[in-house]
Subunit: 310 residues, 2 copies
């Protein structure tokens, strides 16, 4: 058995999982982020709770930030700053006696989808999470590709509009500024002011905009298509560079159904080499809220397998 | 000893190379592209000539097109159409008795730079060849990454200008349409007509434009900066996606010196996560005309090493 923990900005999720990915036990609680000590104590307690007398081989933890896997610590976590520079691996090992392996949360989710979800059968896969931001995890040759410092997968910062608005990353016109939640709202506000729309006076969240577009609102449709085009530029760049065989779309917006997904696939097709597009299949994510904990457990499983082979 | 052959649109180059990459013997001749039979006979004769009584373990061949490595044949070669669908591996094996391994020429050059050139010491490297077109080869974990069908590395078709001109690939505003030779000429012609320039009446090749920019011609400078910006968008996309540690710039334009390269690096910096940019070093290619044959020999070496390990 393995334990997977998934630290989010709001909740800590955890599960005990067997070697086939079956979830035996779950845990879900508000995340303790008042201090590093609170966080570490919560994680250690969660491990002990989920252990529950079973024989657990290792613990994987998915974290919302950049992870230094070799040092088993977090480099930086904008969403949960108490994690910054925290030696999570060492601290949880000393508190629980179990080997601990860390991974970025999007990478862990990608690994879970590759293992048991919409990436099954694909050696190489991009998981794209569409929501407030644009997250991504890349699996190459069946393993998470995290790059030299753990920053790989930042597809949200591909520049899709050279004249676009500044991005907090320091660049401008990044995919996330157009296709992230704020990009949708910004575009909708500007168009409503200029042209009027059934969206006027409503909350301009992504689901509401998709709903209005589906019902024929011209402004909403243009907002959706603008986001789909930007996502098409970014996904096509990944496909033309890597010629991988699977793209999995996750997150709240992706869950809104085929209306947006079909447009994203079509905009990707327009910008991708025909053979490269033909090589790739596009699927909605399958594991939902379990992806993080299942992927975290898989990280521990894979690391320990690799250790045995050495 | 290994033999490396590099089939170009105009010349066939070949060399006999030892396990340390030292070139023992060279061959350079116009490529026989009148018929598939001429091509195969020329390749087999080149192998026999370079073998020259030495003990040769294997042959690597770099080809200008998409290579199906598993089937050891060319899929498609726009530059040398007689190669289309040609089972080069099997045919040269039957004519020479030596094991033959094929690779795309840009990928072979990337492998050579990673082994003995500007990519030394880097596990992960992008080779970008700037010339008439924009070529690229990607080395991940010390091995060529060619993707599912051999199309990986098509960074020239990342869309950098949503309103740009159509590209033969079917998309529009691709990096190659802006930063390839035709993009430079097109931009220079439009600006010269509108504003005048010291370039007026001259051949608008890339080196002449770089030279005029270096001497302060405003139009030439703008053409160079436009190309550098587009390349910055493309390289930054690769870095933010993969967080790799080396970018090597090759080709005639890159050989024109630091004036252009410095601008490309600066435009990349503006669009890349600071840590990801800091993780990467940028270098001009070192192997020049030998990269193709050395890389082809290395392909054979690596494939046979891998075979032994199985």
């Amino acid at each position: 058995m393995f334990i997977g923990l998934d630290v989010g900005g709001t909740f800590l999720k955890g599960a005990r999982i067997d070697g086939a990915g079956r979830v035996a036990d779950r845990l879900h609680q508000p995340v303790a982020k008042a201090s590093p000590q609170d966080m570490l104590e919560q994680l250690a307690t969660a491990v002990r709770t989920l252990e529950a007398g079973e024989s657990v081989a290792g613990v994987g933890i998915g974290l919302p930030g950049i992870v230094d896997r070799a040092a088993s610590r977090v480099r930086v976590s904008p969403a949960v700053p108490v994690l910054d520079a925290l030696p999570v691996g060492e601290e949880i090992l000393s508190r629980t006696g179990l080997p601990v392996f860390l991974e970025n949360d999007a990478n862990a989710a990608a690994l879970a989808e590759a293992w048991l979800g919409a990436g099954r059968g694909a050696e190489n896969m991009l998981l794209l999470t569409l929501g407030t931001g644009i997250g991504a995890g890349l699996v190459l040759g069946g393993r998470v590709w995290s790059g030299r410092s753990g920053y790989a997968g930042e597809i949200g910062h591909i520049q899709v509009d050279p004249d676009g608005v500044p991005c907090p990353c320091g660049s401008r016109g990044c995919l996330e500024t157009v296709a992230g939640a704020k990009g949708w709202t910004r575009a909708a506000e500007a168009m409503i002011a200029a042209r009027g729309s059934s969206l006027k006076g409503k909350d301009l969240d992504q689901r509401a905009i998709i709903e209005a577009a589906r019902e024929g609102d011209a402004v909403a449709l243009e907002v959706v298509e603008r986001a789909a085009q930007a996502l098409g530029v970014g996904i096509a760049a990944v496909l033309d560079l890597l010629n991988i065989e699977r793209v999995v779309l996750a997150g709240g917006v992706a869950a809104a159904g085929p209306f947006l997904l079909d447009k994203i696939v079509d905009e990707t097709r327009k910008r991708t080499y025909p053979q490269v597009f033909a090589d790739c299949s596009f699927r909605p994510a399958e594991l939902g809220g379990d992806a993080g904990v299942v992927g975290a457990a898989r990280v521990a499983m894979a690391a320990m397998d690799q250790g045995r082979l050495r």
